[in-house]
Amino acid sequence: MKQDPLIPEIGVVTDIRTDTPDVKTFRVVGLDGKKPFTHIPGQCAMLSVPGVGEALFSITSSPTQTEYLEFSIKKCGCVTDWLHAMEPGRQITIRGPYGNGFPVDTDFAGKDLLFIAGGIGLAPLHSVINYCRHYRSRYGAIDIVYGSRSMEDLVDYPEILNEWSREDGIRVHLTIDREQPEWDGHVGFVPNYVRELAPDTARTVVMCGPPVMIKFTLAALMDLGFDRTSIYTTMELRMKCALGKCGRCNIGTKYVCKDGPVFRFDQLDELPDEY
């Protein structure tokens, strides 16, 4: 009999990078040392520590990374506490990929892109951004607005500074919530920063962050004249199966695990306000 989709494979955590005081990035390969599976930017995977639990995480690495998968994970519950306490070399379980992912090869192709992220919300966008960088000629201008509570809370700060910021055609706009002595960049919340930047409304927007940031940034984009059909986000609800069967991640008729996690705002408008 075919292996059930609920049964995971064993993976090995080969590297753990501390990004911020509460975010670490975990590099995962299969027992054969290879990347466990291929994915589309925006897709997720179920990771588990047997005896602790299983939870869904977005895949942070780009599909163009052929050797491993990476997950940037914020410490905020049982499974993530355990992951944060572990040492490299330990094994976990992994199954996936799940979800629809971003339309990187269709709707995004040829477009000028605006990425807006807050805090750990950069994790799912990281995969898209690096995919777009890899296939740079397929996309137009790329602007990245990224904010967090403090300088220390900016995920992937070295990569942003040393790689993203230095590439032609990519502009990075960082902001932190409150002044810090060593920070000479923008200070303020993401929604207000987006208003100040007043990006071109022809841009396709990819947004992820805490609900309050999404709410006010969406309002800012509406005021600037953006169309909801060109704004994408990725959702997160509690899941057990990630297969559309355990029955808990639905928003009305749609299951975030299989119909999402990526939705356009005009698609979300069709769903009841229960997320």
Binding site: K2, I10, G51, C241
Partner: protein
């Protein structure tokens, strides 16, 4: 069509049991009917339906998925799946039989749930037509014909005779192994069917109006103020989901014993407060949202995703069992009144 005298049921059941396991509705010590493994002398319950639905036999309340053995940071995966023997479920009512086709839409759609699929493949479903529906029955409103249930075999109990009709290859295969079944006229069940159908039409809930529900009705129903009063007394006990033949939500949990871990799944309920609770928040913070989810799922979301089929079979168990006497019929009647 075949037949056998009701007094010979033991002979029939014994012949089935010679080849495979057999479950029949039998009264337990509390006087409730439950699907029970047949043994000589076990009598068929006279009750209309089992207290728990027949879904247990395909989607058990608890089932192991996989095991893990942990040693020095390494994980070894341990197979825990047990292939069941072939089995026959006898006496499934039309409503519960319909519930199997609803569960099939969930578990047999891609990606297929192989645990459920395995049990379905091993089972032969023998249904039993109803003759004395109860006041809580509303299967007719859900498009179920209690007088002619589906299944691999359909049976009718009539005046001391059991009528037997094979419907599928599986049903034919079972019938061939049961020589005690004697041929009888093809219309032997017709009179009973006509009587039952006439009776069904007289039931208080037979004409339940479902026109306000189904695909595309989310917007019209989601923000209706009545959800507050309908859910006000709900205890969130989950009894309705427990007895429901179509409720299929599950949890995945683990049991740890030293260095070995058993991952299992068990029934869960959207009526429970932690069903959707996350470290990041709670999309259904009060019983109102949980209650609304359960009924909109059965009456709108499920039909929208499944060719208009409602996620309810009208068995009436939730009407009989809810401790505060709330149920899907009251929801349908309350929200079915459309406001201009």
């Amino acid at each position: 069509m075949k037949q056998i005298a009701k007094t010979e049921l033991d002979t029939l059941f014994a012949a089935i049991t010679a080849e495979q396991k057999l479950y029949i509705p039998a009264d337990d010590s509390a006087g409730q009917a439950q699907f029970t493994l047949w043994r000589p002398g076990l009598a068929l319950s006279g009750r209309l339906n089992t207290a728990r639905s027949a879904k247990d036999l395909f989607f058990p309340q608890v089932e192991n998925l996989v095991g893990f053995r942990m040693h020095a940071g390494a994980i070894e995966r341990v197979e825990t799946r047990e292939e069941p023997e072939d089995f026959v479920i006898f006496g499934v009512r039309a409503c519960d039989c319909r519930s199997f086709s609803i569960l099939d839409r969930v578990f047999l759609s891609e990606p297929v749930d192989t645990f459920y699929q395995m049990r379905r493949a091993h089972a032969t479903v023998v249904t039993l037509a109803c003759t004395r529906p109860e006041e809580t029955c509303f299967c007719a409103a859900m498009g179920v014909d209690a007088a002619d249930p589906a299944g691999d075999v359909t049976c009718w109990l009539e005046d001391g005779t059991l009528l037997w009709r094979a419907n599928t290859e599986k049903g034919e295969a079972l019938t061939e192994k049961l020589p005690m079944l004697r041929p009888c006229p093809a219309d032997a069940a017709d009179a009973q069917q006509a009587r039952t159908r006439a009776l069904m039409q007289k039931l208080p809930l037979a004409k339940l109006d479902l026109s306000a529900f189904g695909a595309g009705k989310t917007r019209a129903l989601f923000d209706r103020p009545e959800w507050a009063s309908l859910s006000e007394a709900c205890l969130g006990c989950g009894t309705c989901t427990f007895v429901c033949p179509t409720c299929q939500c599950y949890d995945v949990e683990e049991f740890r014993d030293g260095s070995s871990v058993r991952r299992f799944r068990c029934w869960d309920s959207c009526m429970y407060s932690d069903f959707t609770k996350m470290s990041a928040g709670q999309p259904r913070p009060t019983q109102r949202e949980r209650f609304r989810q359960r009924f909109l799922h059965k009456l709108v979301y499920f039909p929208e995703n499944n060719d208009g089929v409602f996620g309810c079979v009208g068995c009436g168990r939730c009407l009989a069992k809810c401790p505060i006497h709330m149920n899907i019929v009251k929801v349908i009647k309350t929200l079915g009144v459309t406001h201009a």
